[in-house]
Amino acid sequence: MKILVCISKTPETTSKISFTDDNSEFNTEGISYIMNPYDEWYALVRAIELKEQHGGTITAINVGGSSNDVIIRKALAIGADDAVRVDTDPSDAYDAAAQIASYAQGKDFDLILTGKETIDYSGAEVGSMIAAELNLPFISLASKLDHDGTTAVLERDIEGGVEVIEVTGPLVVSASKGMAEQRIPNMRGIMMAKRKPLEVIPAVETETLVSTVSYSLPDEKGGVQMIDPDNMDELVRLLHEEAKVI
């Protein structure tokens, strides 16, 4: 089975968020980046499990600059066989998707995996865009995935439960929690990763369809109002009269 896993980077989750240039740019100073947890913990690990069951190859792909190589090496250390970096800073989700689709076109991947969303911009767009570009079916938010080489059986998170789905032939899947358990790269994996191929390819031309023009910080909370534990009637009154939520 030939599997392509799309990996993106995101600021480390506890990063302090600030902006520069009149709030038009994200301030990257002091920010350390990690592999997007959905890509690392679920999509990549499930790909490795499927390879362990059925054989095959796993290629990790990232669209980004050379500073992303650290994250790509980590994917190789966890267990991808080889990697590709499309050498451009994607201008929007469509750019990232078009680059990945252009690489995947004609390479007969049985399965293309993405994370359900990148946790910085929470787009949840790139997977469905790749699928549409390649005219493949897309299953979003999959918390379970089995694949025997021809047919995939998935569980997809829906409001209040899951949906069991079967898909025959190649497909694109976005992974949500539950698809696999996080794996920590071991020493051997890290050593091997250094020798695994990381191909850098040029980007194709795309149109920029959306752009972020400014950022702002959300309104500060007014501060917490502490309630006497022996007076829960007061809390109920405030929820009813002041917050008007009950």
């Binding site: 469509y94 359900k116 946790i119 911009y121 897309f138 938010l141 949906e163 369809l209 909370k221």
Partner: protein, 319 residues
Amino acid sequence: MSVLVVADNSKGKFKKGALEAVHYGHLVAQLLGSECHAMVIGEADQPAQLGKYGAAKVHHLSDASYNHFDGQRYLAAITEVAQQIGATVVILNHSSAGKSLLGGLGVKLKAGVVSGANSLPDITDGFSVTKNVFAGKALATIKVNSPIKVLSLMGNSIPPQEVGEEAAVEALSVADPGSSITVKEQKTVDGVVPLPEAELVVSAGRGMKGPENWGLVDELADTLSATTACSRPVADTGWRPHHEHVGQTGVAIRPNLYIAIGISGAIQHLAGVNQSKTIVVINKDPEAPFFKAADYGVCADLFDVVPKLTESLKKFKAS
């Protein structure tokens, strides 16, 4: 020129977010001086009612083979309708279905996409909308440069309002491209409001000590008719089912009321809940970080204070 809103439904009933999306579509159409059309796919109770929220016309694809969500066939159907009516803005609910379709629609319509928009567009200089980024730590204004725009509306951003009468419903048939997707089964819990749609949520964390104590949480939730949630370690250790896990790696919610019991308020937890309108935190540690994100705080032993809160609520409900 028109605005097309896809009003998704579950087992024939419109989701709350679908009504919000229709009303939002109506407001966008007003801004642009165009008309709001709603599209309904599969069986639906009274599609005409979407007119009340602002749809001037409802297109209903009622063929029973569309009752189950199928990303491939839905995408083809929506694309066809959007092109037919010349939609310049297509609006989806930011639901499981919306998230599956959004990017694909962008590609098919050559449209820029904004997922999880939470405000009306600003059209003074082009077309831009805001959305939450960095797990709610910031708000970004995104400008869409393409002639056609595809948006999904974040739940609980725009309250749905009744503005009109029932709308005319037009039966729809579309070309069926076929599909390699088969939906085998839907496993949903009936009778409870699913977390992403819940207005009232009672959530608990490791402070509960063990699953045997959840009766306290359930009783409070029942009294409020609230949906229950939990922190990640609670789901990971199997005290509660995974679908209750809220936060950055779980479900992101924005109910009107979020009551957090015995949860420390780690940044990854807050990421999924800090958009709640009102947050109540019950924790015995005055230094718990959650208090900083709370509107109301109770610093006490949860085993003592939760039953008292439930009692007070019962009294309030009875009065």
